[in-house]
């Protein structure tokens, strides 16, 4: 994976978020304050407008760090620091590499998930976006960077949040009543991995 592919991915992700922002906000209404789509859209539109400034020869780590900074400064709320941290950790794991090999990507995903867990004081199984990130990171570690497989595990992580009692974020107040709702952050994270897999499969 190189900077061009990263740009492709982020472009597609911004488009998918834009198309689905009302759905994301609606999901957030059931568990939170109904703005997750607005927040993600604001952040990824800002990312999108930064992309033309990124050159092919820039390191992936530089782009990932830029994305992290933009998300942290533009998104706010809970998802801003969480997504920001994920990109920051991925950037750190990719430092010094012009092309990211599978091994690097496995490590990057693992560290991203760990970063989210730390930042959110969260654990897998608590019905948040971490459930997608940790499922994908584990899958990558176990079976390698098989994009079809990773997309499936992202979806699995997302769908699993439906049956969970939410323990973090605004939904935590609901206790048992949070069961039956998919977590909005898990859905946006699924889109993130789905578009990543698309991009990578197209390049194969």
């Amino acid at each position: 994976m190189n900077t061009t592919q990263l740009k492709q991915w982020l472009t597609e992700l911004a488009a998918v978020i834009a198309d689905n922002r009302d759905e994301l906000s609606k999901l957030d209404q059931a568990l939170g304050d109904g703005d997750h789509g607005i927040n993600m859209h604001r952040g990824f539109q800002a990312v999108l407008s930064e992309l033309p400034n990124i050159k092919e020869e820039d390191e992936p780590a530089a782009l990932l760090q830029k994305v992290a900074t933009i998300l942290i400064s533009k998104v706010g709320g809970a998802s801003g620091p969480l997504y920001g941290t994920a990109f920051l950790r991925m950037s750190a794991a990719c430092k010094g590499k012009q092309t990211l090999d599978d091994e690097t990507m496995v490590v990057a995903l693992k560290q991203a998930a760990e970063g989210i867990a730390q930042r959110g004081k969260a654990a897998p199984g608590e019905g948040t976006l971490l459930d997608v990130w940790s499922t994908v990171a584990n899958e990558a570690k176990e079976t390698g960077m098989d994009w079809n497989q990773l997309e499936a595990s992202a979806r699995e992580g997302m769908e699993a949040t439906k049956d969970m009692v939410v323990k973090r974020g605004r939904g935590a107040i609901l206790g048992e009543q949070s069961v039956g709702h998919i977590d909005p952050g898990a859905v946006s994270s699924y889109y993130l991995f789905k578009t990543l897999c698309n991009t990578m499969k197209a390049g194969e």
């Binding site: 939170g32 304050d33 109904g34 607005i38 400064s73 709320g77 809970a78 998802s79 620091p81 605004r170």
Partner: protein, 336 residues
């Protein structure tokens, strides 16, 4: 949803613009920042402990209206219902820092905790400013007592900010400001009821759905689900429910003094708030709990949401002095 706005994507920026132009003698933007505002009187270099507040917007007059003499020094303004990112928080921190430390006060929400947390790390590491954080958790509806650390912060943050601002204004040092602010935070309890939703300008969708004749007890300040939906009752009965839950949670007893805030969420009239206050006073006087000072009005809204909350803060002599201290902010002022 009908709103007097231009472009829904920039409502917060236009609001800030209007706010600064309305009160140029009292408040200003931190130079180079979009979302960090400070009270002009806080920039005098008198060595006071800085108080920085903030959170998502949509709660006006909270939080931006509460910077000024005797209240907070700086505020970071987030997007609607979204915690501000670390940057404006750090900017406000730097601007109000006078070398004797800064106190952050914010509500117990994952977003605020992460963003203010990152900001305090940055303030410490990059600017060598000592920051203490006080996380407000006054909403008794939002978790049982044994899980108090989960509780949301709602209108009670007004009292916590008032105490911190008054302590710092009279020159208390960081540890004293923190001690008093923590004491206020431990002593404050709120409980609310929602009647009608608000709508984010960008989605236009109601934040929750209730039947024609329904109310929701314990509804969150951003439309997060509450603890119980039921038919709308008479004001006194609604008030009793709120008061009972607050009293059952705390340790108020005959002879105690409290500060009371009956807070409107946006579209509930002051008439209704006074009818609610009337009942609060009846219930407290039955229990021989003395009302030291009262606040009735829109102190922390959820845009145009309908409903209100009741907040009680137990006050001893030192908290009374701080609650009674004068305050002069653009959107709130009181004399001693």
């Amino acid at each position: 949803m009908k709103k007097l706005v231009n472009n829904p994507d920039v409502v917060v920026d236009e609001m800030i613009d209007g706010y600064l132009k309305a009160f140029p003698k009292l408040v200003e933007k931190v130079e180079g920042s979009g979302r960090a505002l400070v009270a002009k009187q806080s920039l005098h270099g008198n060595g006071k402990v800085g108080i920085v507040i903030g959170g998502g917007s949509g709660h006006e007059p909270a939080f931006m209206g509460y910077i000024g003499r005797g209240m907070a020094d700086g505020v970071a303004v987030g997007n609607i219902f979204a915690s501000p990112p670390p940057q404006p928080i750090v900017e406000a921190t730097e601007a109000v820092n006078q070398g004797n430390g800064v106190v952050y006060i914010y509500g117990n929400y994952a977003g605020d905790i992460m963003n203010f947390g990152m900001a305090s790390d940055l303030a410490d590491m990059e600017h060598d400013i000592k920051v203490e954080s006080i996380i407000v958790r006054d909403d008794v509806a939002s978790a049982p007592k044994r899980e108090k650390e989960k509780r949301r912060g709602i209108a009670g943050e007004f009292f916590v900010t008032k105490v911190a601002g008054a302590a710092s204004a009279r020159g208390d040092d960081l540890s004293e400001v923190v001690r008093l602010t923590n004491k206020a935070n431990e002593s404050v309890r709120s409980m609310g009821v929602g009647l009608t939703p608000c709508a984010l300008p960008q989605t236009g969708k109601p934040s929750f759905v209730l039947g024609e004749n329904e109310m929701e007890i314990g509804l969150g300040h951003h439309g997060e689900p509450g603890v119980e939906k039921g038919p709308l009752q008479q004001a006194d009965d609604v008030c009793d429910r709120l008061i009972d839950d607050i009293l059952n949670d705390g340790d108020l007893k005959a002879g105690d003094d409290v500060a009371v805030l009956v807070n409107g969420l946006g579209s509930t009239t002051q008439m209704e708030l006074f009818i609610m206050f009337r009942r609060v006073e009846q219930r407290l006087s039955e229990k021989q709990i003395n009302i030291h000072r009262s606040y009735v009005g829109n102190y922390s809204t959820s845009m145009e949401m309908g409903g209100c909350s009741v907040t009680l803060m137990k006050v001893d002599e030192e908290l009374k002095a701080l609650i009674d201290a004068p305050a002069e902010c653009p959107l709130y002022a009181q004399y001693e």
